[in-house]
């Protein structure tokens, strides 16, 4: 079994051999063929059906990614929503079992949900909460839910109108429930008394004229004969958006209805910042009326960790990020916004570029996905893709493919020749193996990350000072360089060396379990292939773990054998430096001396296995195709530079405004053209644009710019125009344009005497 492709980088000699071989073969073939090369794929020569297929693949993959992202967001929201629902439906709890005390006054049950900085992204969470609250049933207990929008509730009038309108219109579910429940009870639900004589009818008034009396009348008459009245739950989604005084008044009013009319009202507040916002916005008397329980809508960082695990580590999407692209994604997220929506946008853009920008992206449909996420998956074998010879050549020119072929056909030169020379053989026989190996390495990588997570978990249990690295950091370090050289792994290993025998044994057992699980999952995955993979030349891919279970079992058995060993404390004292360098010195003086050999072996085994599992992606075959690396493209698209854009717009207005026919003819005639970076100056251009280009010509002294249209006046500086030539309107336009440039920040004032400049520039106007 050979692990050369996984554990060792192919050395330069091997690569040179392969390169030499490719050059000889292809040069001879190309001489025979026309001058066309595989680059024709990038010169609009790709078959149209494959281009369309790429678009289909993009749409399908994006749906898959979106589904995964939405699932995690939804899951995150659902946990909080369930907690809030439990709180809303819970009864009051007494402070003491023995003592019958009650609070001086009834407070409004209030759930405060901390949403995080990107409050606009959490409307989905509140929708989930609303639907849960509406549908949550506890015997015959139902909720009336209102969701108030801060943009429509700027005054008390507006907030009351919204509140009552939503209660009456948006809670049909309560009407349905009570109507169905009360068939036997014969309760009249007209708004009024049971006999309908002298009923208080709510007038169909203008919505803006609703007052709280309407609410009271509606509620009391509607649920007059109901034993357990429904709770009225008011959700204020974006609390910071409401005026504090208005909300305070609203709370005071609600409090009165709770105390005077026994209407059970619950408030749910979505706060983006901190609890102090509540204290700062509301009046003291309003705060006194709230009984607050706090909830959190989940951390964005944890959500991203889950997404990284699912999308990139377990590779449930077909989008793999190279180091720079991944770094850009994470940097944007952690440094700039902590926004999942922006993260999603970046992903979509990267995916779009991946499929639209790379002809070989069609190979991603040959990647067999996880059975759990493969409902909508479009899986095809390479032979079904109608790959052209250009495709084959392009694939074979990838360095990783060269290395892979070199390794696979190390002892079979004829096979190598056939693979290179016969595209049909390559597509039918070799390419499936390459793609299969790529996935094999990814699965090993995923297992490696799981094991590292498990190691971290074990260390944090025994060492409270150890801080776990999040998955996104582990993935970052594994992508950057070899994981074994990264600082997180060095830190983990240093802590691992101080683990006690019993803890190490548990760690090995749990790691063994993970390895077994991954192996069985892998075998299950292999069984889902429509055709059994051909393992010829890639025998090591038959099993995912490659026999590491036996090595773990050996280690575990060593712990069991030497568990009861006598202490051989000889009273030796070691310095801290000595112990840090060799922790086993301490072990040998402690009661765990019997575990010394096992500990030493475990501490060698674990790093060796992790090094093998978390191989750098550059050794994966076809990584050039499957890993998206264009970070600069993402950066340009998502980090626009407004100053540069304005400069471009002013220097080349035709980019933005286009050019009419008459102007395009004048361009050729124009004598004034400072450089290639700017459009030629025309009298029809915008004033600011003209002045800006003159400014570029004149340098930093805008006073030296002459008035008038440059094409007519030529580009001479400090020209004294005659007084009778100057038109006051033109002068005004010029001053306005200079002021605009000053306002935008392209020019700055100088300390030169204005009268001197005016004389110089304008003569004696």
């Amino acid at each position: 079994m050979s692990y050369t492709t996984i554990n060792q980088h192919t050395n330069d000699t091997q690569l040179e051999n392969a390169n030499e071989g490719f050059q000889i073969l292809f040069n001879t073939e190309r001489k025979e063929k026309s001058k066309e090369t595989f680059q024709s794929l990038n010169n609009n020569q790709e078959p149209e059906e494959l281009v369309q297929f790429r678009e289909i693949l993009f749409n399908q993959n994006w749906l898959k990614i979106e589904k995964i992202v939405d699932f995690h967001i939804q899951e995150n929201h659902l946990i909080t929503a369930k907690q809030v629902v439990r709180f809303v439906n819970s009864g009051a709890k007494r402070n003491s079992v023995e003592l019958k005390t009650k609070l001086p006054r009834t407070e409004i049950k209030t759930g405060v949900i901390f949403t995080g900085a990107n409050s606009s992204e959490h409307s989905q969470g509140f929708e989930t909460l609303e639907s849960l609250l509406k549908n949550s049933s506890r015997s015959d207990h139902f909720n009336i839910v209102t969701r108030l929008d801060s943009q429509k509730c700027s005054s008390l009038k507006a907030i009351i109108s919204q509140f009552i309108t939503q209660i009456i219109n948006n809670n049909q579910h309560v009407d349905n429930i009570y109507s169905s429940n009360d068939k036997n009870k014969q309760i009249n639900f007209e708004w009024g008394d049971e006999d309908n004589s002298g009923a208080y009818e709510i007038e169909t008034r203008n919505i803006l004229e609703y007052d709280m009396n309407t609410f009271e009348t509606y509620y009391q008459s509607r649920f007059k004969n109901v034993e357990e009245k429904p709770q009225v739950i008011t959700i204020l989604e974006n609390f910071e958006g409401f005026p504090g005084a208005v909300i305070s008044d609203f709370i005071m009013i609600l409090s009165r209805y709770i105390n005077s009319f026994n209407i059970p009202i619950v408030l749910v507040l979505g706060i983006a910042t901190t609890l102090s916002t509540l204290h700062q916005s509301l009046t003291k008397s309003a705060i006194q009326r709230l009984s607050i329980a706090k909830f959190s809508l989940g951390s964005e960082q944890e959500l991203v960790n889950k997404l990284v695990l699912d999308l990139f580590v377990k590779n449930n999407s077909n989008l793999n990020m190279g180091f720079d692209s991944y770094k850009y994604l994470m940097k944007q997220f952690t440094h700039s916004n902590l926004s999942i929506f922006k993260f999603k946008q970046n992903l979509k853009y990267a995916l779009m570029d991946f499929f639209y920008g790379s002809p070989l992206s069609i190979l991603s449909c040959c990647l067999k996905g996880d059975p759990n996420y493969s409902e909508q998956e479009m899986y095809a074998l390479p032979k079904d893709l109608n790959l052209t010879t250009d495709h084959v050549e392009m694939i074979m020119m990838q360095p990783s493919v060269m290395r892979f072929l070199d390794n696979m056909y190390r002892n079979n030169i004829n096979g190598l020749k056939e693979a290179i020379k016969t595209p049909n053989f390559f597509i039918h026989n070799t390419l499936p193996k390459i793609i299969f190996c790529f996935q094999f390495f990814q699965k090993r990588y995923s297992m490696g990350v799981q094991i590292v997570e498990n190691i971290q978990e074990s260390i944090s249990k025994v060492n409270s000072q150890f801080t776990k690295y999040p998955i996104r950091a582990l993935h970052y370090n594994a992508l950057e360089n070899d994981f074994e050289t990264s600082s997180p792994w060095k830190n983990i290993i240093s802590h691992l060396r101080f683990m006690k025998g019993e803890d190490m044994k548990k760690l090995l057992q749990t790691t063994l379990k993970i390895a077994n699980d991954c192996e069985s999952e892998y075998q299950n995955y292999l069984s889902t292939y429509p055709e059994q993979p051909d393992f010829t030349g890639i025998e090591y891919t038959r099993t995912l773990t490659g026999g590491i279970e036996e090595r773990f079992e050996d280690c575990i058995s060593m712990f069991s054998d030497n568990f009861n060993f006598k202490n051989k404390n000889d009273g030796t004292v070691y310095t801290r430096k000595q112990i840090n360098e060799n922790p086993y010195l301490l072990v040998s003086t402690s009661g765990e001396v019997g575990h010394e050999a096992a500990l030493i072996k475990s501490n060698k085994l674990i790093p060796a296995i992790i090094n093998g599992l978390l191989a750098h992606y550059s050794v994966f075959p076809l990584n050039e195709v499957f890993y998206y690396r264009k970070h600069s493209f993402l950066a340009q698209s998502f980090n626009p530079q407004p100053r540069t854009s304005i400069q471009t717009a002013l220097a080349k207005p035709s980019f933005y405004l286009g050019q009419c026919d008459c102007c395009s003819t004048k361009v050729g005639e124009s004598t004034w053209h400072s450089n290639k970076n700017t459009d030629p100056l025309l009298a029809t251009n915008n004033d600011v644009s003209i002045v800006y280009r003159l400014y570029l010509e004149c340098g930093e002294n805008p006073e030296e710019v002459n008035e008038g249209d440059p094409p007519e006046k030529s580009k001479t500086k400090k020209q004294k125009p005659k007084a009778d030539v100057i038109d006051v309107n033109v002068l005004n336009r010029f001053i306005l344009a200079v002021n605009t440039l000053y306002y935008i920040g392209f020019i700055k004032k100088t300390n030169r005497k204005t009268d001197h400049v005016a004389r110089l520039a304008w003569g004696y106007v």
Binding site: A92, K93, R94, N95, S96, E98, L99, K100, T101, K102, L103, P104, R105, E107, K109, F114, G116, A117, S155, L156, K157, I160, G198, A199, Y200, E201, E203, E209, D211, M212, N213, D249, M252, I253, R256, I271, A272, T273, T274, L275, S276, H279, S285, I287, Q288, L290, S291, I292, A293, K294, F295, S296, S299, E300, Q301, T334, H335, S336, N337, L338
Partner: protein, 382 residues
């Protein structure tokens, strides 16, 4: 009527004078019409609760024999929270639906008929249904009525004249001002004693209430806050008795056992960092077995979730630098926040000459300040 007076005095200790005034002015049928009573006082001095209770008893009582009966007909007294009155119409409707409840009950179309959009409409309704009985309107949070227009309150005061269609006499009589002063200690204790739980000895509860008052009265005069704190802390105070680790006579021991809660939680409860819900649901059951560290940890756990815990990296830097900048003089901004060093002026700064007059001015200023402060002190004493 005397029953109401007595009942109110029992329920509202320390407000006998105000109750007497109010019952004399309101409860006597046929008493001379008063234009309006201006009830004034600090927060939590019993204004709203007393007037609401008075109205409640007034509605329920039968004037002839003083017995409470369930009243279903018209009521001459209405309590309106001015906060809710976002339109004048709402206030008018609230008043007429209470004053003429019987008429509306008999003919529901009356509400539609009486539009009550303006003062004229309201006065007209009152005039048409004049039964020569005095109508009372209690307006809570009356300052909110200013939002309805600058002339609304003054117009409301003239509504009686408009309703009776009597000619105006020009000047309006001065209002009766009823001041609700702050409670004294004995009154506070009496009020707190009203919250004594069932089956608890009043004297024992009063001791606890007294000690709470002594602890907090310097910083907190709000009786609602005191009641809230007592209701939350009393169960912790008494728990060792239920566990038979102390007796009711061992006050010092009980206070010592309760001390961790007082030390670690009172400020948080007062500032509402821990809400009553969290306290009742999440605080550990008080016990003599709990040491200080355990109690402190349990209370700290309740205050861990305070909101936003994550900010983007650059936002954090921006906030920190803004915070630091706010504490620096502007002239140091360039030095601290700019990459390039500030070019120092080579001009030699002129050292101002020492002037003897400066010391004289300073001394004069000091004297003047001392004189002012001594005068203020004297004013305080006076």
């Amino acid at each position: 009527m005397d029953n109401i007076n007595l009942q109110l005095k029992n329920e509202f200790p320390g407000r006998s004078d105000q109750i007497d005034v109010l019952t004399n002015l309101i409860l006597k049928p046929g008493s001379s019409t008063i234009p309006f009573i201006y009830v004034n006082g600090h927060t939590a001095t019993g204004k709203t609760s007393l007037l609401t209770r008075l109205a409640d008893l007034y509605v329920k009582s039968d004037f002839n024999d003083g017995n409470e009966v369930e009243f279903a007909g018209n009521s001459n007294i209405v309590v309106i929270d001015s906060t809710e009155c976002i339109y004048p119409k709402i206030l008018f409707r609230r008043a007429i639906t209470t004053w003429f409840k019987q008429e509306i009950y008999n003919d529901p179309n009356l509400l539609k008929k009486w539009k009550c959009e303006t003062f004229e409409d309201f006065a007209k309704v009152l005039n048409e249904n004049n039964d020569f009985s005095t109508k009372y309107m209690i307006l809570d949070n009356a300052e909110k009525l200013r939002d309805l227009g600058h002339s609304f309150i003054s117009s409301l005061l003239y509504i009686a004249e408009q309703a009776s269609e009597k000619p105006s006499f020009g000047s309006f009589p001065e209002p009766i001002i009823l001041q609700f002063n702050q409670y004294k200690k004995s009154e506070v204790i009496k009020i707190l004693e009203l919250d004594c739980p069932e089956n608890e000895p009043l004297a024992f509860f009063a001791t606890f209430a007294d000690s709470m008052y002594e602890t907090f009265h310097r910083s907190c005069n709000d009786i609602n806050e005191l009641r809230q704190l007592i209701s939350l802390l009393y169960p912790k105070y008494i728990q060792p008795i239920f566990e038979k680790q102390a007796t009711r006579n061992e006050t010092a021991r009980l206070f010592k056992l309760c001390q961790p809660y007082f030390v670690a939680a009172t400020d948080k409860l007062y500032l509402r960092e821990i809400s009553s819900f969290e306290w009742q649901n999440e605080s550990i059951v008080a016990s003599a077995k709990n040491d200080f560290a355990t109690v402190e940890k349990s209370i700290a756990n309740m205050t861990t979730t305070t909101g936003l815990q994550e900010l983007p990296y650059l936002t954090k830097y921006l906030l920190i630098s803004a915070f630091i900048a706010s504490y620096n003089p502007p002239k140091l901004d360039f030095q601290y926040f700019a990459k390039a060093s500030e070019s120092k002026s080579k001009r030699r700064q002129r050292v101002p000459k020492r002037d003897d007059t400066g010391s004289r001015v300073n001394s004069t200023t000091t004297d003047w300040a001392e004189t002012i402060s001594s005068k203020q002190n004297a004013g305080n004493i006076l």
